[in-house]
């Protein structure tokens, strides 16, 4: 009997496993289909090959045009350069040694009275001013230097405002700014020559003026210097193209097929959904990579040629080193696959190709920051940045391209794990989309606001739907973000701090949760998961909370070691911590432990968890709530700790099926955090046995740390051993009572 069931299970397992031959068949067909499409071929192959050389040619034309335009400068009032003034200009040029004499410079000199109309000496100053202003504004000259009559007077020259030379330029014109820079350079050279001359006449040794010489030397090897430019630009170009290259085939292969009805035909064939997804994913990834490689390659060849011709960057930007660039190709494979899986999942939501196009922008908006982040100056590969998807991979490639192999390899495991994790999530999402018939066939009717509102009200259920849970989390996070902008300074009174804590907790976390739970569900208690299935869990939760705290403190210490809190931030928090440590303990506990525990847990482990856990979303519920909980803390160091804590709290919420143990653990943990210092100072023997006060603040005694870990593990073991609360059974219950009001709950196969 058992043997037979074993066989059946094995057979079922084999039946569900994608067969490579079928995946290949689908892949080959999709590739052929796309390659026969003129539009696809044009975008991925013809466009890059033609586009970049064309743009390059255009650039060179423009460059030639701008190079032919020399800098034109006018000096008005050369007749005032008299007396002890050293020579500045010869006829129509500056005196030798002042100009950088590598580029062309046109100089025109006027005497004071040689400008404009002559209405008498009094008006001449105004006349010059007007005329020269017009010259610069209209671009007749890029810059004008005006030497007023008083300049001729050696006494007035150094003190009188009216005697100062005036340099007129126009910040709106690049040409004018260049002219200004050059003119400033010339004048400062002229000035220092003048100073030298003066000192010499007074008999001072002019070597005093330069006590030392400075030579700046770039020690970066030739390769790095060249790579520095390309290693930033090229991955960016490649990733953007990989994204676009994935998107259009994805739309055609899913939304387009849906529109033409061929997807249904394919779904009736013996090909499994997973085989269809893998085949299509392979095709989209191939196109994404081809687009990226062709575009980057074409751009590389064209631009290095153009740069060489134009001499941009003073020869710094040569052709890129080719061999290290191969690293880019290695990194492109997983990133292309990631973008492709995302594009496939997103495109599955669209009913037609046209609708699919609308989804490109949001997808770009989400992924582009990850690509832009490494472009920011100062972003390097560290433990922190390596954890960010896409960004980490990008930075690692940069290290590899620059030849820092040891550094890159050190972070390889993290980057690889993060990338693999993201890839897995994206592929799982895409696969789920293909298994969801509401996604594949649903949504025929027109969406209408009033109908939707009525539907929300009419089809309320006992717990939130996953969509409602996601929206609630998003609302909370957005509200917190704007709430933070409102707070401009740290309050200095306890009342102010109380307001500062209560406002986001009650107004931005609890209020939206309660509001959504009241309006969108039929049972407040059920949707917030306030239930008690096992009374023993509550005292154990308190014990767990107490014993977990030393571990939590260690974690927090570890995090602030890895990501040190800036002194600035500590200083900004000073009034806050001061107030907390001096206020009455009970008020502090209420404010810092009771209120946050209740508000945050009801929101994250209550309403949101309850929505996300439905339809077998156990892992989704735990991870998403933990991440949202982490983000809601705002400060990076706190967010990391909170995310870890959120994972644990989420797991307990899943095992106990209730929000209450979470509230208790959260409350205990926060209570201990805010009162640890006072416990350390207390003379009670029990307190002294556990906590001791050290110079760096209160610390748990080692014995207690070890003991607490042991007890905490036992508590955790207790929770692990608890019979799982069947969330789906509950969802089914909801389904029976409300008769399939939730589309996804009803549609999931029995």
């Amino acid at each position: 009997m058992s043997e037979r069931s074993e066989q059946l299970r094995e057979k079922a397992k084999r039946a569900g496993r994608p067969r490579l031959s079928v995946v290949w068949m689908i892949y080959a067909r999709e590739m052929m289909d796309q390659l026969r499409d003129r539009r696809t071929l044009f975008t991925i192959a013809v466009l890059p090959i033609l586009l970049y050389p064309l743009v390059g040619m255009l650039l060179m034309q423009i460059a030639q045009f701008t190079q032919q335009h020399p800098t034109s400068i006018c000096i008005v009032g050369t007749d005032h350069l008299i007396g002890d003034v050293p020579p500045l200009v010869k006829t129509e040029t500056f005196v030798d040694g002042l100009t950088d004499n590598d580029e062309r410079l046109e100089l025109l000199c006027y005497t004071w009275n040689g400008v404009g109309r002559h209405d008498g000496v009094l008006n001449q100053a105004k006349n010059v001013k007007e005329t020269t202003n017009n010259w610069v504004r209209d671009g007749i000259f890029d810059a004008v230097l005006v030497i007023p009559p008083k300049f001729a007077d050696p006494q007035a020259r150094s003190s009188d405002q009216e005697a100062s030379m005036q340099l007129l330029y126009n910040v709106a014109s690049d040409q004018s700014m260049v002219a200004r820079d050059r003119l400033t350079g010339i004048l400062s050279k002229w000035q220092s020559g003048w100073v030298r001359q003066r000192l010499e006449t007074t008999g001072i040794d002019i070597s005093l003026l330069a006590p030392f010489k400075l030579a700046d030397i770039d020690i970066a090897p030739e390769r790095t210097r060249e790579a520095a430019f390309w290693s930033k630009l090229l991955p960016f170009i490649m990733l953007v193209w990989a994204m676009t290259g994935a998107f259009y085939p994805a739309i055609d292969l899913v939304a387009g097929e849906k529109e033409r009805g061929t997807l249904e035909t394919l779904l009736c064939s013996p090909a499994l959904r997973s085989e269809i997804v893998w085949g299509k994913l392979g095709a989209v990834t191939t196109f994404s990579m081809m687009t990226a490689i062709l575009n980057a390659g074409s751009m590389l060849v064209t631009s290095s040629f153009v740069f060489k011709q134009m001499g941009v960057g003073g020869g710094q930007v040569g052709s890129p080193p080719m061999v290290p660039m191969l690293w880019l190709l290695v990194a492109l494979v997983p990133l292309s696959a990631l973008f492709s899986a995302l594009a496939l999942a997103v495109a599955a939501m669209a009913r037609s190709s046209k609708e699919g196009q609308y989804y490109l922008m949001p997808l770009m908006m989400v992924t582009l920051p990850l690509v832009l982040l490494p472009m920011l100056p100062g972003t390097t590969l560290t433990a922190g940045t390596s954890l960010i998807p896409v960004t980490g991979m990008f930075l690692m490639v940069r290290s590899l391209v620059e030849g820092q192999y040891a550094h890159a390899l050190m972070y390889l495991p993290i980057v690889a794990a993060v990338t693999a994790g993201c890839l897995w999530l994206a592929v799982t999402w895409a696969r789920r989309q293909f298994e969801d018939e509401a996604v594949l066939f649903g949504g025929g009717d027109q969406w209408e606001l009033s109908q939707w509102v009525r539907h929300l009200w009419r089809d309320r259920q006992r717990a939130a739907t996953p969509t409602q849970a996601f929206s609630c989390g998003a609302i909370i996070l957005v509200a917190l973000f704007f709430g933070k902008l409102v707070v401009t300074e740290m309050p200095t009174t306890f009342a102010g701090i109380a307001k500062l804590v209560m406002m986001p907790q009650i107004g931005m976390i609890l209020a939206p949760t309660l509001m959504m739970a009241t309006v969108l569900t039929t049972s407040l208690k059920h949707s917030l998961r306030i239930r008690l299935s096992n009374p023993l869990t509550l005292p154990i939760a308190v014990v767990f909370g107490i014993c977990l705290h030393p571990t939590y403190v260690m974690l927090a210490g570890l995090v602030s070691y890895a990501y040190p809190i800036s002194e600035q931030a500590t200083a900004a928090m000073k009034p806050f911590t001061d107030q907390i440590s001096s206020a009455p303990l009970m008020s502090v506990i209420f404010l810092m432990a009771v209120v946050p525990a209740i508000c945050e847990e009801l929101a994250f482990r209550g309403f949101i968890f309850g929505g996300l856990v439905r339809n077998r979303g156990k892992l989704r519920a735990i991870f998403v709530t933990a991440i949202m909980f982490g983000i809601s803390h705002g400060v990076l160091q706190q967010s990391i700790c909170a995310t870890f804590m959120g994972l644990l709290l989420g797991y307990l919420a899943l095992k106990t099926g209730s929000v209450l143990p979470g509230i208790l653990i959260h409350m205990t943990n926060n209570t201990l955090s805010v009162s640890l210092e006072r416990i350390a100072q207390s003379t009670h023997p029990a307190a002294q046995a556990l906590v001791s006060s050290t110079g760096g603040g209160p610390e748990y005694n080692l014995v207690w740390v070890i003991a607490s870990v042991a007890i905490a593990s036992m508590c955790l073991f207790y929770f692990i051993r608890l019979p799982s609360v069947d969330e789906d059974a509950k969802a089914d219950l909801v389904g029976n009572e409300e008769e399939f009001a939730d589309p996804t709950a009803a549609l999931s196969p029995a």
Binding site: D37, L267, C268, D445, W447, L747
Partner: protein, 260 residues
Amino acid sequence: MIHVQHLTKTYDDLSRGKFVAVDRISFSVQPGEIFGLLGPNGAGKTTVLRILSTVLSSTSGIATVAGFDVSADPAEVRKRIGFVSNNTAIYDRMTAWEMVEYFGRLHGMPKKELTDRVETLFEQLRMNEFRDTPGAKMSTGMKQKVSIARAMVHDPPVLIFDEATLGLDVLVARNLLSVIRDLRESGKCLIFSTHIMSEVERLCDRIAIMHRGKILDSGTLSELRSRHSENDFEELFFGLLSNHESAENNELAHDVGAGI
């Protein structure tokens, strides 16, 4: 060959709330038989056929095809059916030959056998003159033939036609109907949905009349005629539909009257 029992499918609909597309229907189809599913648009015919072809899952009830449960063994079911839908879905950038061959390969047919089979089908359905024409350039009739060849390539015991004659001209539609009759002769189990009564009258061995997700009555043509003592099939059909509608409306009025 096909057994359907208390099959129910509900959707969540924005305007109507919970919407029962298929309401506890039961029927069975034997090999060598053409079963007609007759009903107006939106009666739930396509939903039933999609559940049978495993692309949709049922909410409750049982459906088996060739001995395999559609929700427990979808892969086995898909191996044994051929599905022809109303929108003649074929790939634009594949030729007739490639298209049929592709689906044959997806069914895991050996190369030699597949080539022979496709040759036979192309001969049988007179498709040789457009075997290298890409889908985008085919006429509706050609497309429909490719669809049928695609559905028959693995010689399935069960064939499902979902409003297959929709949008076809008389010539092509007649041709299709004769193909379907030939298939019955060769012992296939056929299920055929339509809203055109004359097709049902000419073709089907047994008929189920569907309306608003329910089967109102089923049986052979003569059974239905004698049961409702109505010789004109069109009259019979409309009579059933309007009776059902007025009964449903009465029920609704009764519900409202009772204050529900």
